[in-house]
């Protein structure tokens, strides 16, 4: 979380919130380019809502944006430690229900884009798998999933950040503190094993050491036919 972006860090006067800014080209591509600008899309934002994100999404297509805000109110911490290797079926079901309870009430409309931000870094692969599983009935063919993974450095911010995409193409990352934690450094293969039928599409190493990934759901496989 340091490196080149550290020069852009600012420290608020009354707390240790830190702001970094960097380019995230794959995110920009997803936000600004819709395959069909007339087609309505549904976007699931697992992070905190921001006006900038709404503006960017709505400028590019008619859409509904669902905001889960997983990182606040203890939501994320309740699923952080899920490890299905140590769990029986009953507790796995409980974990799944718990995750579903953290998400906005599902709609009949299928998801075209899922924005994970840096949240997967704070989940076990089992928890990430359950998260995807909880969305499985709602994933549209061709759905894209975007995430930011701490990959090239051993440490990452101790808590997830807030992310605000700017109109200048920069992504602002707002961290609640300067505390660090060990990064899981998930590889594309690790992540792929937890993402069901989402397949790796593209990855870019960013200036701050994070890896930006896009995964895509197969075009020809409706989620209803999918099994985990």
């Amino acid at each position: 979380m340091r490196g080149a972006a550290a020069a852009l860090a600012t420290r608020a006067s009354d707390h240790t919130e830190q702001v970094f800014s960097f380019k995230a080209p794959l995110l920009n591509r997803l936000l600004d380019n819709s395959e069909d600008p007339e087609r309505r899309e549904v976007v699931l934002d697992l992070g905190r809502a921001s006006q900038s994100l709404l503006d960017r999404l709505i400028a590019a297509r008619p859409c509904r944006v669902e905001v889960a805000d997983l990182a606040t109110d203890g939501g994320l911490s309740s699923i952080t430690e899920i490890d299905s290797n140590e769990a029986d079926d009953r507790s796995a079901d409980r974990d799944l229900d718990r995750i579903r309870g953290l998400l906005p009430e599902p709609s009949d409309e299928q998801l075209n884009l899922i924005l994970c931000w840096d949240l997967p870094n704070y989940l076990t692969l089992s928890a990430l798998s359950l998260l995807i599983d909880s969305l499985s009935n709602r994933i549209a063919p061709g759905c894209h999933l975007h995430m930011l993974i701490g990959y090239s450095k051993r440490e990452m911010a101790a808590q997830p950040g807030r992310y605000i995409p700017g109109t200048d193409g920069n992504l602002s990352q707002i961290l609640p503190s300067d505390e660090l934690a060990q990064a899981p450094r998930y590889s594309p293969e690790h992540l792929g094993s937890a993402l069901g039928n989402f397949g790796y599409e593209r990855g870019v190493l960013l200036a701050n050491g994070m890896q930006e990934f896009i995964y895509a759901w197969p075009d020809d496989e409706p989620s209803a036919e999918r099994s985990f």
Binding site: R40, R48, Q51, P62, V65, E66, V67, P106, S107, E109
Partner: protein
């Protein structure tokens, strides 16, 4: 004036005042029903309403309201102290406080930095200040909003129309569908 449609016979407690008098009492103290300097009616901090709030004038809520809020042609402001557990229908809605329910506005919804909002937002224009806590969905797609709110996002669209056309938890316009209060919670 505001109508009170109590669901449980305990609709309003305001130090003995009834909710019916809200909006007509002026300068009645810091915590009662009154009008603000700008002329809007105020549900003060000490007031709790369990039931339906309806009216045709602008309203500020600083107290606790559970039920429904229908101000078809008017502006609703939920102040920092306000806590509303209700589906809300209004011309415009501004939230500084806490809401738990779906918000329908024929013109605009503004979620301020201090707000804590759980529910779906449906309006042609929605603004969300940095710092606000929000969980739910945002619907600004013109066609979907028109279906949910009524005809062409008109401020004069009837609330019953809005309820009938309100998206259910699945965001599908659901004619004759029961109210899906709390769909995003």
């Amino acid at each position: 004036m505001f109508e009170r449609n109590s669901k449980d016979g305990d609709a309003a407690r305001a130090g003995g005042r009834q909710a019916d008098s809200l909006g007509s009492s002026q300068g009645s103290g810091a915590s009662g029903g009154r009008r603000s300097g700008s002329g809007q009616a105020v549900i003060g901090r000490s007031i709790q309403i369990n039931g339906d709030v309806k009216g045709d004038e602008d309203l500020m809520i600083e107290g606790d309201v559970s039920g429904t809020v229908e101000l078809k042609n008017s502006a609703l402001t939920i102040g920092k102290e306000g806590k509303v557990k209700a589906d809300i229908h209004a011309r415009s809605i501004s939230v500084d406080g806490t809401t738990d329910g779906d918000l329908f506005a024929s013109e605009s919804i503004a979620i301020r930095a201090t707000a804590v909002v759980r529910g779906n937002l449906i309006a042609p224009r929605i603004s969300l200040e940095d710092g606000a806590s929000f969980k739910g969905s945002v619907e600004m797609d013109q066609k979907a909003v028109e279906k949910a709110i009524g005809t062409g996002s008109s401020a004069s669209s009837s609330t019953s129309d809005a309820l009938a056309a309100k998206p259910n938890a699945n965001n599908k316009p659901a004619a004759a569908q029961p109210s899906a209060a709390g769909a995003a919670r």
